[in-house]
């Protein structure tokens, strides 16, 4: 068994990157980024890894340098947060469209304006359509485990896509909690040797990246990109199965909690799922049949698998830590997509919570469950989308 430590989510992710020892990391390691890359840069400085660390002048350049290094044939990682991810936006599509398996821990934090660097999912949700695999983590242990698994998923020869590993800003990234590290040798063995595919540095076989493809084949190219995403869930599950054999911790496309016999369900991601589980236990003690579903893989979204897990419930509350102004919350829209395939459709409500670091407190979860009980009894939904935890 590995070492048990009390560390922040950022320290845990930096440790995973240290154990994996990527060939190249390009980063802009000051705010809006977190101390994750700063910690990793000290490993570089201390000779703990032999990664080539490229310190650039912006996040746009960080992703650009990662793309160059990955196309050259290296195992590449970076990390970012908030405005940093927003500034990378253009290059995120290029990383995915070019099929480069770059790994990026993303500390989920709010976007300006107004200026705020506290936790919410606005940054990650904004990158939903970039073609990156997105994995969300509840706690520091999951952030560490997911970072390790992300390399295997992204670099799988059937996949070759970039992946971001998300954790809640401050709540997980900067808070200290118990994490079990896996031994260096086991991590190295699990992740395996990097296999370059069409590396630019193979000078005997020259190739071109980033070509112009117009109306003749762009459409087909994008369909191919969608098709490769559909292969991701199978690989995620294979990697999770191998991971469980090594570390003893079980992962899937999503996690369910007391859902099997539930009449009502809360769907929520990341750290808020932990708090919600505690409140669900309290209601279960009172005989309320409530359960939880926590998506782990947000892209690709496992619509049918989630529909199957939720098909027996009468009412669902989807909690979003991000908003789509003038629309429903992004997670709600995905769950609505899952529900669409069900023969008998549960009633659904959408709560927007915790924006810009607003605490998600037990009474908010209790309020949602109380409302859900009424919705399940009457089948009536007074308002589909509402903000909770609002100061009046």
């Amino acid at each position: 068994m590995g070492k048990i430590v009390a560390v922040t989510g950022n320290e845990a992710c930096a440790q995973a990157l240290k154990q994996i020892n990527p060939d190249v990391c390009a980063a802009y390691p000051i705010t809006p980024a977190t101390d994750l890359m700063q910690r990793f840069s000290s490993f570089v400085n201390d000779g703990k890894v032999d990664t080539e660390l490229v310190l650039v002048e912006s996040e746009h350049s960080a992703m650009s340098a990662c793309i160059g290094a990955a196309a050259a044939g290296g195992r590449v990682a970076t990390a970012t947060s908030s405005q940093g991810l927003a500034l990378m936006w253009e290059m995120l599509y290029i990383a995915a469209g070019t099929r480069l398996p770059i790994i990026m821990p993303l500390v989920n934090r709010a976007l300006s304006a107004p200026l705020n660097i506290h936790g919410d999912h606005s940054d990650g949700m904004g990158a939903r359509d970039t073609g990156w695999i997105q994995i969300y983590s509840e706690n520091a242990q999951e952030a560490y485990d997911n970072t390790i698994q992300a390399f295997r998923i992204a670099e799988h020869l059937d996949i070759r896509l970039p992946a971001m590993v998300c954790m809640d800003g401050f709540i997980v990234s900067h808070s200290i909690e118990r994490v079990e590290y896996i031994d260096d040798a086991d991590v190295k063995k699990f992740v395996g040797k990097f296999q370059a595919v069409h590396p630019l540095l193979d000078l005997d076989n020259p190739k071109s990246y980033g070509p112009l493809i117009l109306t003749d084949l762009y459409h087909e190219y994008k369909r191919a990109q969608h098709e490769v995403m559909t292969k991701v869930p199978k690989v995620v599950l294979e990697v999770a199965s191998d991971f469980e054999k090594m570390a003893g911790r079980k992962y899937g496309l999503f996690e369910t909690y007391r859902l099997e016999d539930a009449e009502m369900a809360i769907v929520v991601m990341s750290s808020a799922a932990g708090t919600t589980k505690d409140i669900i236990d309290q209601y279960r003690d009172k005989g309320v049949k409530i359960g939880l579903l926590k998506p782990r893989i947000f892209r690709p979204f496992p619509y049918l698998e989630i529909a199957d897990a939720l098909k027996h419930v009468k009412a669902i509350a989807v909690l979003d830590r991000a908003d789509s102004f003038g629309g429903y919350g992004p997670l709600f829209m995905e769950i609505a997509g899952s529900v669409m395939s069900m023969a008998s459709k549960p009633a659904m409500i959408n709560k927007i919570f915790g924006l810009g670091g607003r605490d998600y407190l037990p009474d908010q979860a209790e309020g949602v469950i109380d409302e859900l009980i009424k919705v399940a009894q009457t089948g009536k939904v007074p308002a589909v989308k509402e903000y909770i935890g609002v100061k009046e």
Binding site: I4, V5, A6, H118, N139, D168, F170, I171, V172, H174, S175, I176, E177, R178, S271, A272, G274, T275, K277, D278, D281, G357, D359, Y360, L361, P362
Partner: protein, 191 residues
Amino acid sequence: MAKAIEIRWHGRGGQGTVTAAKVLADACLSGGGYVQAFPEYGPERAGAPIRAFNRISGNVIRMYGPVLHPKVVSIADATLMDAVNVTEGAPDDAIFIVNTSRDPKEVRAKLKAKDSQKVYSIDATKIAVECFGRPLPNSSMLGAICRATGIVAMDVLLENVKKSFGKKFAQKIIDGNLNAARRGYEEVKEG
């Protein structure tokens, strides 16, 4: 599931309160428990009131967010009793530990603590100045908390104080802090 013991720290920016919460988490982790340690994040200014939190449990801790009903309230700067509501949300069996030269009975009156709540005082700043020459109260506060709550064994706490200071400081400072923690344990008074 046994409920986690929740601790709220009140201190001032630059006093080392967050470090103390971390050392306590490390110590409880060595004791085989699950732990959380985190500050309330805001603008970081020296001297401003800050809060930090611990959760300690024998089981996995799933609850995130600030501690609302602290079983233990550690007040590293007595002037905070006039500046912020340090008793907010404290349950009937709460334990208050205050860094002050005043008698614990006076502190009890000041806090308007209920009879069922326990109040301890410790002159942690004086001990710190005597042990290592700087007014940083947290090693002695940790010793006092250890005595008042029994949350972790004293030898485990001392090991972790040593580990925490050992990374950055000279032997004299490490020994001073170990001594301060021991004196905190010995000199804390209930009232």
